[in-house]
């Protein structure tokens, strides 16, 4: 049954703009129901700030169902907070106790510059997908959907990777700020499927190189997978590395032309 948490101290990162100097601001929540979600707790705070004539804390959020990938937040140093396989929007206050101090920061990665307060720019992810994270299949020419049977385990493995919501927790959790889990999840999704074979090696090479331009390097810490709200397995990185290595041979004719 519903309980009320009392006396929560929030230390929230405030930053006026991309170039502004950041600072922690402390707010106390006197009482909140444990049925509230973490973001509803921030809603309550923002409503209070507005009533006091102060600016609300800016944070990204949208579906509040854990699927759109818009929400973020480092909560007590953990991407999406303490609960495993859970986005910030699905985190509920029952995870916390009365008198807790909660430190709330934006994603920390140089590839994700801060826009304001807790909001960051994740366009670097879109650029990786634009580089090759697709199957070229213009509208209209597709064969019948059942023409190519896909073994269930293959379809399931592709789906496991495709479940990535592009939130950026993997990058935020990585000590190197690497985006290998995000990139590899998309590479694995498409490279596992028969429809993805035609562009398999071009895709792997283009996506990895766009990733390397923008993000840090992977040194196999595994923090990404532990922080991933969709529990994407780190195995996908091995698959991506294998395809990237193969791509460097298979695409060498193209390379020699440069």
């Amino acid at each position: 049954m519903t309980k009320t948490l009392t006396n929560l101290t929030l230390k929230i990162w405030r930053q006026d703009g991309p170039a502004g100097e950041g600072r922690f601001e402390t707010h106390v929540i006197d009482a909140i129901s444990d049925e509230a979600s973490f973001l509803e707790m921030l809603d309550v705070l923002n409503e209070r700030l507005i009533t006091q004539g102060k600016e609300a804390v800016a944070f990204d959020h949208d579906c509040r169902e854990g699927i759109c990938g818009t929400c973020s937040l480092m909560i007590n140093g953990q991407a999406h907070g303490p609960q495993r396989a859970t986005t910030t929007c699905q985190l509920h206050m029952r995870t916390f106790k009365s008198n807790d101090t909660i430190v709330i920061e934006p994603w920390r990665a140089s590839a994700f510059p801060i826009i304001k307060d807790l909001m960051v720019d994740r366009a670097a992810f879109d650029r990786i997908v634009e580089a090759g994270g697709y199957i070229t299949a213009p509208t209209g020419g597709a064969p019948d959907a059942n023409l190519i049977p896909i073994p269930k385990p293959v379809a399931d493995a592709a789906m496991d990777s495709a479940a990535c919501i592009g939130c950026g927790a993997c990058v935020a959790a990585c000590p190197n700020g690497a985006a290998n889990l995000f990139t590899a999840a998309k590479v694995a999704h498409l490279n596992l499927l028969p429809q993805g074979q035609a562009e398999r090696y071009r895709r792997a090479e283009a996506m990895v190189e766009m990733m390397d331009e923008q993000f840090g390097s992977c040194t196999n810490h595994g923090e990404c997978s532990a922080a991933c709200p969709k529990e994407i397995s780190i195995d996908v990185i091995a698959l991506m590395n294998k395809d990237y290595r193969a791509a460097k041979f298979k695409n060498r004719k193209e390379l020699s032309r440069i």
């Binding site: 509803e40 600016e55 509040r64 299949a137 509208t139 597709a142 479940a163």
Partner: protein
């Protein structure tokens, strides 16, 4: 209050010409395509098309138009096109593939959709939707959407409400996500190739009309607050529905009606705003500060059984209530469809029982959705395979494990069938302005069937607009269009700046969210699952009073420069107020019950919706007059040549 109902049998409004092509129903779309004007591939690059919104309809339209060679500018208020709310659709997408050999066909999908919509949709549009449904599945598989498969490698299907065949394709409980990622990837490819210019974190704040034709849009950059104009030969609004007018709904927090509403204010008729869908299976509200409601996919009703205790006020935990003291009311009332009765019917049945005191849970505001029979029959692992992620989501939110305790569910606003009026070409009453997906009104009538929203979004974007926009643009070849220096653009920019400065300058005491919540309560109480004349008249009195207070007592902190989410919200709430007034008015003049619109005065003895086909077999299309309480009503009659008007029965 008296409302002038000008539903005449007189001359039809020429703006409401449906442009349905000639021929028998099954040939109409082929006839249209055969006769549509074309734009030569080398000339397509001379045309600019603006697409607003990057959900299923917007992303698929933008990508396809760019593939064809048009210059496309795509706008989204999200940080990335992949965030659009299509992503949250769980259950599946319908298509008349008949892969199961269980008697499905294009005609059957058509009749199911017409009947599901309670005979309030346009036959020709619905038939075209059923026709192109099969192409959607082919297209999405080619793009790498990992639909569920059987062990032999072929595609799997499941059943959804309102159908007696298995025609729903799905990707676990994340079908919307996978379809949107497919469309997003195709869009991303075009962005990478330079075919589409993407403007992210930009919100539409006005439509510009010059000499009666859509000339472009005015947007506000959500990062800088800058207001800018964009001109084009055609504008597509794929900006979703308006369910957030209720404040609490299953829509994402940022879903809003602004784009459609601003178009309405510039001359686009708004059709059937009172057709809103209440989804029967959502997690009940738990507290006052709740910010949104979460849907549990309708697919759960394939294996879950809905029940309440027979005894009102029964306090025992579910497990202690013996079988004979449970009322499996959907199976009892609607034996042939059982737990898969359509959404409007299931929702009202739940409401009636909760209102009579049979509700379950701490606030007695839910009914059970019980999987114990399915777990016994199929084993836990099969249930986990089918619904695992939904069960986990439920547990995270409700704090209970649905493998052990039945889920508690209750209806919540989920989808809006009403929207911008469009003709067969998906063009609004403003020439050059198109509306696609949930933003238009065309295909679902008064009630949408499950797994049909994804189908319609992709049908519009992939397979309809690319033809109809070409037909509309061909005559404009080599003609100059108004540029962003045109006085109409400048005036719209200034009006937008004044509007947003206005919100900042009220300097009252209450946040936009406070007003939104209060507005939502009025709409839910009087224009929600059940509507009555007295209630609607009350709402029509209360909303303008609250709106006046909004204008006088709003407080938006911060400035107009840089990110200001409070200011964004103020603009959206303003438009919800105006829409809310029109919704109630529309519900009041539609003196019948149909689909999601249930007027208590119009029901059968058994409490089912009672249509009035003699007077209301038509579309209500509203024209803006400057005041939403005084909008003009225009009527598009609906003719049923193939489907037979019948009382909807799911018994």
């Amino acid at each position: 209050m008296t409302m002038i109902d000008n539903r005449p049998a007189t001359a039809a409004n020429p703006k409401l010409a449906s442009k349905v092509p000639d021929g028998v129903l099954a040939d109409k779309w082929d006839n249209y395509k055969a006769n549509a004007k074309l734009v030569n591939p080398n000339n397509k690059r001379k045309f600019k098309v603006i697409v607003v919104g990057t959900g299923l309809a917007g992303a698929s339209a933008a990508a396809t138009l760019a593939e064809l060679g048009y210059q496309v500018d795509a706008f989204t208020f999200h940080d990335s096109p992949r965030r659009a709310h299509s992503i949250a659709a769980q259950g599946g997408i319908n298509a008349a593939k008949n892969y199961k050999g269980d008697g499905d066909s294009i005609h059957r999908l058509f009749t199911d959709t017409i009947k599901g919509g309670d005979f309030r949709s346009r036959e020709a549009n619905v038939h075209r939707l059923a026709q192109v449904s099969v192409d959607i599945i082919d297209q999405m598989v080619a793009q790498g959407v990992p639909f569920a498969r059987e062990y032999g490698g072929l595609l799997d299907n499941r059943s959804f409400g309102g159908a007696q065949v298995s025609r729903t394709f799905y990707a676990r409980g994340q079908t919307g996500q996978q379809l949107l990622l497919g469309a997003y990837q195709q869009l991303a490819r075009q962005i990478g190739l330079g075919g589409v210019r993407l403007f992210n974190r930009c919100e539409l704040v006005d439509i510009v009309v010059v000499d009666g034709r859509a000339a472009g849009i005015v947007v506000r950059d959500l990062l800088t607050g800058e207001i800018t104009s964009h001109a084009a030969h055609a504008v597509v609004l794929a900006t979703g529905g308006y369910g957030n007018v209720f404040f609490l709904s299953t829509n994402a927090m940022n879903c809003n009606v602004t784009a459609a509403w601003r178009a309405h204010r510039k001359g686009a008729y708004f059709a059937n705003p009172c057709y809103t869908q209440i989804h029967p299976t959502c997690i009940p509200q738990s507290d006052e500060f709740q910010s949104k409601l979460t849907l549990m996919s309708e697919s759960l009703r394939n294996d879950g059984r809905v029940w309440v205790p027979k005894l009102a006020g029964d306090n025992r935990p579910a497990a202690q209530i013996p079988e004979e003291e449970r009322d499996y009311y959907l199976e009892r009332l609607y034996p042939s469809y059982g737990n898969l009765a359509p959404r409007d019917i299931s929702s009202r049945a739940a409401k009636r029982l909760v209102d009579k005191g049979h509700g379950v849970g701490p606030l007695r505001n839910g009914v059970y959705l019980d999987f114990s029979a399915a777990i016994n029959r199929l084993g836990r692992s099969v249930v986990e395979e089918r619904y695992g992620n939904l069960f986990e989501m439920y547990e995270r939110i409700a704090g209970e494990n649905p493998y052990d305790v039945p889920m508690r569910i209750y209806p919540a606003t989920h989808y809006t069938m009403g929207g911008l009026w469009v003709n067969y070409e998906l063009e609004t009453t403003i020439p050059g302005l198109y509306a696609a997906g949930e933003a238009n009104f065309s295909d679902h009538g008064a009630n949408r069937l499950g797994a049909s929203a994804l189908m319609q979004g992709l049908a519009d974007g992939y397979f309809v607009l690319p033809y109809t926009i070409g037909n509309g643009l061909a005559p404009l070849l080599n003609k100059t269009i108004p540029g962003t220096d045109h006085p109409e653009f400048k005036a719209a920019e200034q009006a937008a700046r004044d509007r947003f400065n206005g919100y900042l300058n009220v300097k009252g005491t209450r946040s936009p969210d406070w007003f939104h919540r209060e507005l939502g309560k009025i709409i839910w109480d009087y224009c929600g699952m059940e509507r009555s004349q007295a209630g609607l008249e009350k709402a029509i009195g209360e909303i303008p009073a609250l709106y006046e207070e909004f204008k006088k007592d709003l407080r938006v902190t911060g400035t107009g420069e840089g990110v200001n989410q409070t200011l964004e919200k103020a603009g959206r709430v303003d438009d919800f107020f105006q829409l809310g007034m029109l919704m109630c008015k529309d519900a009041l003049v539609r003196e019948e019950s149909c689909g999601g619109h249930f007027r208590v005065e119009h029901q059968t003895e058994e409490g089912e919706a009672q249509r009035d086909d003699e007077n209301f077999c038509n579309v209500s299309a509203w024209e803006w007059t400057g005041n939403p309480s005084e909008s003009n009503l225009h009527i598009e009659p609906l003719a049923f040549e193939t489907a037979h008007l019948a009382t909807r029965s799911y018994k």
